[in-house]
């Protein structure tokens, strides 16, 4: 298929998504819209981790840390000075924290940039480590971020966190950022820089021998991925309207890792599909955890059941289908038209 046709089809797909959102905004209830919003944010987070781990092979467990950075920076920028005055009851906020203000888009970008800055600072020492050690060290970093958030009440309001964060993150913002993330990561992965990332994942030694500055490229991938993790965290803060240090534990990273592994390490399509399916399942299983009443009947909720199901699912995927839904395969328009033609051919025959 011609490249121009594909560009047209991609633009049409985005337009269809836009129309769907416009329809959804008017016709779906608040709960359904919330799920759609979470899908967009989870896809952003999954894509960013997939770039780091799936494409570049850097086993990072620090996603929750970068999300926290993005969430806090964005929240501080969009909360009004009056709100912040009220919120900071442990200790008064620093002046610069109270006065800081920015429009939502700028605040989200700032959240992403702050996360990227942390990624550079953390990456320079840590990316020299291999596989599992890198995982544990980045996990340690995320925990340190959490402890810092608790112990810096003049910036983060300590353990209480923020409430009443303005809910700017509507369907259009979330999906807009989602499409932007998708575009950047697709372009990146399809370019020769993307090939270099994959080379590092496959064989670091050979990549060095091919003149690849492995450390620099790792840092690049890690920083870009963390930028989008920060963006995801920023959107999530505005979407949920509440953040506190307890929210950014390892469970959050686990959920993102779960989506990436289920979709397929190194498959963008997989991350999107798994992002949709798992977000819906996560919300759907929430029902199991809450008490239910059918007329006179009352069913007790089973707390913990959701994570039992998900951890079990992750184990099963790793054991029986390690490549996830998609392996390393990607969606392709050619593939669609071929299907279409085959069908048409059969009908004609």
């Amino acid at each position: 298929m011609h490249a121009k046709t594909k560009t047209m089809l991609n633009l049409m797909a985005v337009a269809v998504l836009g129309l769907f959102l416009w329809w959804a905004d008017d016709n779906l209830d608040g709960y359904q819209i919330q799920i759609l919003n979470l899908i967009a944010v989870n896809i952003i987070l999954a894509l960013s981790l997939n770039l780091i781990y799936g494409f570049t092979g850097l086993f990072s467990l620090g996603h929750a840390g970068f999300m926290a950075v993005g969430a806090y920076v964005c929240s501080v920028l969009i909360l009004s000075p009056e709100q912040k005055e009220m919120l900071f009851i442990l200790e008064p906020a620093f002046d610069w924290v109270r006065e800081a203000q920015a429009p939502f888009f700028v605040a989200v970008v700032a959240g992403g940039l702050a996360a990227a800055l942390f990624a550079v600072l953390v990456g320079i020492p840590l990316l020299r480590l291999g596989d599992d050690y890198l995982g544990m060290a980045t996990l340690g970093f995320a925990e340190i971020i959490r402890v810092l958030a608790i112990n810096a009440p003049r910036v983060t309001n300590g353990a209480l966190g923020f409430k009443g964060i303005p809910d700017y993150a509507n369907l259009y913002w979330n999906f807009g950022w989602c499409v932007l993330t998708l575009y950047v990561i697709i372009r990146l992965v399809a370019s020769n820089s993307g090939n270099v990332f994959k080379a590092i994942r496959d064989d670091e030694t050979a990549a060095k021998a091919m003149g690849v500055d492995v450390f620099r490229q790792k840092l690049l991938s890690f920083t870009i991925g963390s930028f989008f993790a920060g963006v995801g965290g920023a959107l999530l803060a505005s979407l949920l309207a509440t953040i506190d240090p307890k929210m950014f534990t390892f469970v959050l990273t686990f959920n993102v890792l779960m989506i990436v592994v289920t979709g397929g390490l190194g498959s963008i399509t997989g991350s999107i599909l798994a992002g949709i399916v798992i977000t819906i399942l996560l919300e759907w299983l929430r029902i199991v955890e809450n008490p239910l009443t059918f007329g006179d009947w009352e069913l007790q909720g089973i707390p913990g059941m959701r994570m039992v199901v998900f951890s079990l699912a992750l184990i099963c995927i790793i054991l029986f289908r390690r490549e996830g839904f998609m392996g390393k395969r990607e969606f392709n328009w050619d593939w669609v038209t071929r299907r279409f033609r085959n069908k048409a051919g059969r009908h004609a025959g």
Partner: protein, 261 residues
């Protein structure tokens, strides 16, 4: 250093703990030559490669490339200065296609960066196309142009060796190190390989240093040979001299094999 020497090693030594893997390896390699490094298994040949290409920092000694000291430079910079290599136990990017493998080699000389690719800037798109074209040409040189879309892992052994060479050529080296290029080849393929090595030397203005066990290849194409045994250089010279050197025969065949010893 004579004017036409491209690479010189001076007293290159490598010790691992108490073990001396290579001891005082000194060699001057003439520009545009094809030279060989031979010796029994474990003699320290690959260690020499690793020291020259920056994977090991020598315990002692120097590596001079174009008269410049490159001792202890990290591998990617060594490659950038014009030294490319292949590996004894083939190391391709297995999950990537044959074409991508070669394109990764081209990355080093690319001028546009990642963000230009993300923004789809014309300069970047143009370069991307140029890189793909160059890579296809290189695949044609090694005879793999028809397999460009295959996964590197799925290639047969011989083709993988050739792909490794194409990938090394993509970094535009002036000096190429081949680690056992003829391993696992039958005599016919070996003949082709020898022709191929001579061919790429002229075509790409290369100097080639190779490690090889197949004596037919070594004696057939190398103009100068260094022989290592237990890390020591036991002989150096043109093939004819090496062939009849008693020390070399002893190293390869053992004491009793030498007539009139």
């Amino acid at each position: 250093m004579p004017a036409d020497t491209i690479l010189e090693t001076k007293n290159l030594s490598m010790r691992f703990g108490g073990l001396t893997a290579v001891k005082a390896f000194s060699a001057a390699i003439p520009r545009a030559g094809i030279v060989g490094l031979i010796g029994p298994n474990g003699a320290g040949k690959t260690t020499c490669f690793n020291m020259i290409t920056g994977f090991y920092r020598p315990s002692e000694g120097q590596v001079l490339f174009h008269g410049r000291d490159i001792t202890g430079t990290p591998p990617h910079r060594v490659c950038n200065s014009g030294i490319a290599r292949t590996f004894q136990n083939i190391r391709l990017f297995g999950n990537e296609t044959v074409l991508q493998n070669v394109m990764i080699g081209c990355h080093l000389r690319q001028k546009t960066g990642w963000w230009q690719a993300v923004l789809s800037m014309p300069s970047s798109l143009r370069e991307q196309r140029a890189v793909a074209a160059t890579s296809r040409e290189l695949l044609a040189v090694v005879g793999l142009e028809d397999l460009a879309g295959e996964n590197a892992n799925s290639l047969p052994y011989g083709a993988q060796r050739r792909l490794e060479i194409a990938r090394a050529l993509a970094t535009q080296p002036s000096f190429l190190l081949l680690d056992e290029p003829a391993a696992g080849m039958n005599p016919n393929e070996t003949q082709d390989l020898m022709r191929f090595i001579r061919d790429i030397r002229t075509r790409f203005n290369l100097t080639i240093l190779l490690i090889e066990h197949d004596m037919k290849v070594v004696m057939g194409i190398c103009e100068h040979i260094w022989v290592l045994d237990y890390g020591e250089t036991i002989a150096a010279g043109p093939p004819e001299a090496i062939k009849s050197d008693p020390k070399v025969i002893k190293a390869y065949l053992g004491e009793e094999a030498i007539p009139n010893a």
